[in-house]
């Protein structure tokens, strides 16, 4: 499609082409304009990107960062429009003193530390199984593993809320005769109930990325290892896994960011969670709560804190994994 479109667009230009090389009588006069045009042309191509980038990416970030430096101030009953007072640390000190927000940060940190390794371990294991020589029906299993990712997160969370709900849980219904009961929504387990949904949804996605990386391991290296008598396990451990380090690090960073941005699943589960999921369960939910209270700058400050923390963690993580690679 793109090729066709380009061909159509450039057709008139091609027709005019013979005039270009500067042999004709017009050439001398148009030289200076041509030079300026040459400088302008790349700029013209750059413009659509620059505008979109500035409007959709830079502007909101700058706007959020700047507005986090102001504190909403109202007075009396607040019936006149609120004013915003410049107070660069006001929202930030409030954020770090806000128990709801700090514990939401701790919660997603704990979530990330446990859930990300479990999920990536599963994804790596499944990718290696798919990649093994004895694997059958690879296409089917690849698709089956990937399928949960294709289901919109909110729909999936709704189905899981049915699985967890004390009234309808088929899991607990099956376990009932054995005298067992899984408290999906108790204070201690609820985070792992959420982690279970996230793992279910994203393992296949990460598996596909790692599997794709496995395809680029040179066949002759694997062949050589086999000739040398290395077992399949040994090949996986010593050749394949080191070869896909980059892909694993990439999926890890994506997953760290995903954990920090946890939102859909807890929000969907909240109404049936008997209060185990609070309105400030994750940092983004906490920022939403600030928006609900009409305090946009405070929400912006929370977002900035979250973004900086995620940035630092991702950066450190990349540095650590890279250092290992170079050593």
């Amino acid at each position: 499609m793109t090729n066709l479109a380009t061909a159509r667009d450039t057709a008139p230009a091609r027709r005019a082409a013979p005039r270009r090389p500067g042999r004709g009588p017009l050439a001398a006069g148009s030289r200076t304009r041509g030079a300026a045009g040459r400088r302008r042309t790349p700029l013209l191509f750059w413009c659509p990107f620059a505008v979109l980038f500035a409007a959709m990416y830079l502007a909101p970030i700058v706007y959020a960062a700047v507005s986090s430096l102001f504190v909403v101030h109202r007075s009396g009953l607040g019936l006149t429009a609120p004013t915003k007072v410049f107070d660069p640390i006001g929202n930030y000190t409030h954020a770090f003193g806000d128990g709801g927000f700090t514990s939401s940060l701790g919660r997603v940190a704990l979530f990330g530390v446990v859930q990300v390794p479990v999920m990536l371990g599963l994804a790596l294991g499944l990718a290696l199984l798919l990649d093994s020589r004895s694997a059958r029906a690879k296409g089917f299993f690849r698709l089956a593993g990937f399928l949960p990712y294709a289901i919109p997160g909110v729909s999936a969370a709704l189905v899981w809320s049915f699985m967890y709900s004390p009234q309808s849980s088929p899991v607990n219904h099956l376990l009932e005769p054995l005298g067992l009961h899984v408290p999906f929504f108790s204070g201690g387990t609820v985070l792992w109930s959420v982690a279970n949904i996230v793992t279910w949804a994203w393992t296949g996605y990460n598996m596909v990325i790692i599997y794709a990386a496995l395809q680029s391991v040179p066949a002759e290296v694997l062949e050589a290892a086999r000739v040398d008598g290395a077992s399949a396990l040994r090949i996986a451990w010593s050749i394949k896994i080191p070869a896909v380090r980059g892909a694993i690090a990439l999926t890890a960073v994506f997953s760290i960011i995903g954990s920090a941005q946890l939102f859909n699943e807890p929000v969907v589960l909240q109404p049936v969670s008997s209060g185990a999921i609070s309105s400030v369960f994750t940092p983004i939910m906490s920022a939403q709560a600030a928006v609900a209270a009409g305090d946009y700058p405070y929400a912006a400050a929370q977002s900035v804190v979250l973004a900086v923390l995620v940035g630092v963690v991702s950066f450190v993580f990349f540095k650590l994994t890279n250092r290992g690679e170079q050593a």
Binding site: C47, Y63, V66, S67, R74, G78, Q167, S274, G275
Partner: protein, 433 residues
């Protein structure tokens, strides 16, 4: 007046962006709005039927034209859109606004005081409804509908145990125990959260907020609130409350199969029950809300909405004129009753023929009779708070646990009060008491 620096920053950003855009495109064209002789007032709402009512208005009025635009229901994004529009300076004149949200809008400076135009219509509305559109002396719109409460009960369940609908809360508790003892899978009710719970407090005069001069009073943990909280806490303790959350599939199932025997709810709950629990057809009936003591006729309220005038409206007088018409015109309101199931805030409309039909779902009962008696008995001193969405969320965090047996309702109210006071102080609002 000093320009807020943030707006300057935003302006600078916008200018930079504009320059970038201008550099990349040709000249834009300005669109000019042609104006006729009629005043045009824009109105944002979502209730089904509003569009038809507006059409009827435009047909019969020559000097004023209403431009109705449908937005997402408030909690689903409509309120946010409206607030953003006010901040951006391109808001409509009028917006549909739930009573519980109106003070939050007012406290963000998003509403316009129209007392001078609206006060003349005050007498047409129930006192409680009028109170719901005002904060202090300011009036921010015209009440449209109201949510007087009653007791929806599964008559089949009550009859099978030889019980009559409870007239007092003491009887309600006794019935709760009887029902649960007769069948441990049957419960008197589901838990109530945020605005549904507020209706229970409202009945007892257990105000959550108040206005005292130029400061807010926050009283979720007051004595009367404690009384309501302890009452329901006791029902939780005896195991008489189901763990099915309201509006959840499990709740509708319970309403349909008789395992949830009552709903203490507002008039619009009739439509919710009818629509969600089809299996319960013919089994349900409506009785007055149980009283705290015999002879005490106070009733709670849940829900209701107003047509509010937003900050920046250039023709507030015309806007109020239309809003008053919408809430009081018999033809227009007939449409709203038919299409949206609204219950009028205007006292003289409670005899609308659309309201008084006997309902086969409720065993042929004319349920509107119960609500027509309840509406004037709604306590008229209730005030919603200035950060209501946050207060409601904080309250639900605690209530959810309390209904499940972790912590108490009284503590949930106390925590919500503390958090609300902290939030108000953080934003610089004055709090007294």
């Amino acid at each position: 007046m000093k320009k807020p620096p943030l707006r300057t920053a935003a302006l600078a950003g916008a200018v930079t962006l504009g320059l970038l855009l201008a550099g990349c495109s040709g000249s834009g064209s300005d669109s000019g709005a042609g104006s006729g002789g009629r005043t045009t007032v824009t109105f944002w709402g979502w209730a089904p039927g509003y569009a038809d009512a507006v059409k009827a208005f435009n047909r019969t009025h020559t000097d004023l034209r209403i431009d109705y635009q449908q937005v997402q229901p408030g909690a689903k994004g409509g309120y946010q859109k409206t607030l953003n529009a006010v901040q951006a300076g391109n808001a409509p004149c009028l917006a549909q606004l739930g009573y519980e949200t109106l003070p939050s809008f007012a406290a963000q400076g998003a509403l316009q005081d129209v007392a001078e135009y609206a006060d003349a219509g005050k007498g047409d509305f129930f006192d409680a409804s009028w109170k719901s559109v005002s904060v202090g002396d300011a009036v921010y719109g015209v009440p449209v509908d109201t949510g007087p409460m009653a007791l929806f009960y599964n008559k089949k369940v009550f009859d099978s145990l030889g019980l009559k609908p409870p007239a007092t809360w003491a009887e309600y508790k006794a019935d709760a125990k009887r029902i649960h003892a007769a069948d441990p899978h049957k419960y008197i009710s589901s838990p109530y959260l945020d605005y549904d719970y507020a209706g229970l407090a409202w009945q007892n005069g257990a105000h959550w907020f108040g206005v005292d001069g130029d400061s807010w009073k926050v009283s979720l943990a007051s004595g009367p609130n404690r009384q309501v909280a302890d009452y329901w806490q006791d029902l939780v303790r005896t195991g008489a409350i189901s763990n099915a959350p309201m509006y959840d599939q499990a709740w509708y199932k319970g309403l349909g199969d008789g395992s949830i025997a009552t709903v203490v709810g507002a008039v619009w709950q009739a439509g919710v029950i009818k629509g969600g629990a089809k299996d319960g057809a013919g089994q349900w009936a409506v009785a007055p809300m149980p009283r705290w003591s015999a002879g005490d006729e106070r009733t709670g309220n849940a829900g209701g909405s107003a047509t509010a005038v937003l900050k920046g409206c250039e023709s507030p007088k015309a806007a109020v004129e239309f809003a008053h018409w919408l809430s009081t015109d018999r033809t227009a309101y007939g449409i709203l009753v038919d299409k949206a199931g609204l219950y009028p805030a205007a006292e003289k409309l409670t005899d609308l023929p659309q309201l008084s039909a006997a309902d086969p779902y409720f065993g042929g009962q004319k349920i509107s009779d119960v609500f027509a008696k309840a509406a004037p008995k709604v306590d008229a001193d209730w005030t919603w708070g200035p950060v209501m969405t946050k207060t409601a969320a904080d309250l639900d965090d605690g209530l959810g646990k309390a209904w499940a047996g972790n912590g108490t309702i009284a503590d949930a109210l106390r925590t919500a009060q503390d958090k609300t006071v902290a939030e108000l102080k953080h934003q610089g609002l004055k709090v007294s008491g």
